[in-house]
Amino acid sequence: MTENPIVAFSGVSKTFLKDGASFTACSDLSFAIEPGEVVAIVGETGCGKSTALALLLGLQEPSRGAIRVLDVDPFKDFHALKGRVGIIFQNDRLLPWRTAIDNVAFGMEILHIAKAERMQRAMHWLARVGLERFANSYPHQLSGGMRQRVSIARTFALNPPLLLADEAFSALDEITATALRNDLLSMIGEEKKTTIFITHSVTEAAELAERVLVFGRPGRVLSEVRAKDMIARGGTHADVAAEIRESMKSARSTSSHAMAM
């Protein structure tokens, strides 16, 4: 770990209280992500991925531990991260009353970027995702894949140092998802973005990430798969996927063992 990781979770726990009962979503969660890294967080449903994302975005306060994102506490200094963390959601979350170009410009509008500049940047990124012809189309006039491309353009238009992709391809069919994954990876490479993919798809994690963090219940890193190193040593994405599956299997047995105790 370097001195200035982009993201650092140190002994983070998050407990929710509901109807008098407490539920631990994350327990002693620690990991760091270095500048320029492309990391995947993978784990089964309910393993705390979404809670970790909410904590990282500063939407929730940790019950214990410390989180630093781009050198600030994302919860306490919520607005300090304005425009610095881009997120691509599972569903496109386009505003239906805005055209594609106005949707791309939305994040820049929040940042009070001048209209001429935001329109220029919006058109540049729409063109980059291959949708310049559809700049004036409304979301309902676009297919699911096209809408997700618009949402990717919206994220890149902000030029954030950190990118988060939360199950970004899981709502798309396999062919569209594969095409979009490849395009996104090349954009991340070109722009040298630090990126965190949150996914439950082992294949996706193996293909996208240089490093994979395998989460187990309750919300902690059980193992780490260094995909980039494996590929550099002559391994394949299939080998990486097999390694992740093996880690998840042991994570499952560890979790059930812990629950049985």
Binding site: W97, T176, A179
Partner: protein, 271 residues
């Protein structure tokens, strides 16, 4: 490849032709002709004092639109409706948004608004006469109290049903509360705002006429009272029809605004 285009309406949508628009109103025209024919038929069986001939009603309508004093009455009611509705909308929308955003306010405001809605317009007229000396203030009060609850309740429900994903998007982009309100919530509730205007317009016209019955010296309500005093049925019908015509003009304006503001909606959602 970027996937197929999901909707054949992609790009500029061509509006319906003039002929198509006219034929869309055919049922209304047929209704109007049928009612007029029945009315004219009735004139053979009833006294002209009870069912005046269409010719007399036509003459009375001509008098309304050709004589300045009469036109002032029609304009007065029309302007009172617009002014009252506008004030009511601003207050009702503000209350509706606050109710939609803050559950505590909603809990206490909803029963109160339903209670106000249950009070007959005539009761408000009586209260207004006792409370306010100025006629215009009376009419404005009755109009506002009669239409504000519907605006507030419509907008409250609309705010509550805004897609949470869109609000979360605003939060993730770290928009402040004002930005989330103006850039996400308000545009999202425009369809419900337009529905509230459509519903409240007819309501406001009815309430305005009732409000003008007492103390007013202009307006359609006042003119109806005058017609009743001299048993002028043709005049009463003419004033009523003129007001309905004004209502249709307002509804047309609302439809026009609606089609502009909601141009983004898929055709299938546009009623």
């Amino acid at each position: 490849m970027h996937g197929k285009i999901a909707d054949s309406t992609l790009g500029q949508r061509a509006g319906p032709s003039l002929w198509a628009r006219l034929t869309a109103h055919r049922p209304a025209v047929i209704d109007l002709v049928a009612v007029a024919a029945l009315w004219q038929l009735s004139t053979y069986y009833f006294s002209p004092a009870i069912v005046p001939p269409i010719q007399d009603i036509g003459d009375a309508i001509w008098k309304i639109f050709s004589q300045w004093d009469n036109l002032v009455s029609l304009l007065a009611t029309s302007l009172r409706v617009v002014a009252g509705l506008s004030i009511s909308f601003v207050l009702g929308a503000a209350l509706g948004v606050v109710m939609g955003l803050f559950g505590g306010v909603r809990t206490y405001a909803r029963p109160l608004l339903h209670m106000i809605q249950g009070v007959p317009a005539l009761s408000w007229v009586v209260f207004a006469v006792i409370w306010f000396a100025q006629v215009e203030i009376r009419i404005a009060f009755i109009l506002i109290i009669g239409t504000l609850p519907a605006f507030a309740l419509y907008i409250d429900s609309a705010v509550k049903s805004v897609n949470l994903d869109l609000i979360h998007l605003g939060q993730a982009l770290r928009a402040n509360r004002l930005q989330i309100l103006t850039k996400v919530i308000v545009p999202a509730i425009v369809p419900e705002i337009m529905s509230a205007w459509t519903v409240n317009l007819g309501n406001a016209v009815r309430v305005a006429v009732i409000a003008e019955l007492i103390g007013s010296t202009t307006g359609v309500g006042f003119q109806l009272l005058q017609a009743q005093a001299v048993f002028d049925m043709a005049g009463a019908v003419a004033w009523t029809l003129s007001l309905v015509a004004v209502l249709f003009v307002y509804q047309g304006i609302i439809s026009l605004v609606e089609s502009r503001l909601l141009a983004w909606r898929p055709r299938s959602e546009v009623v």
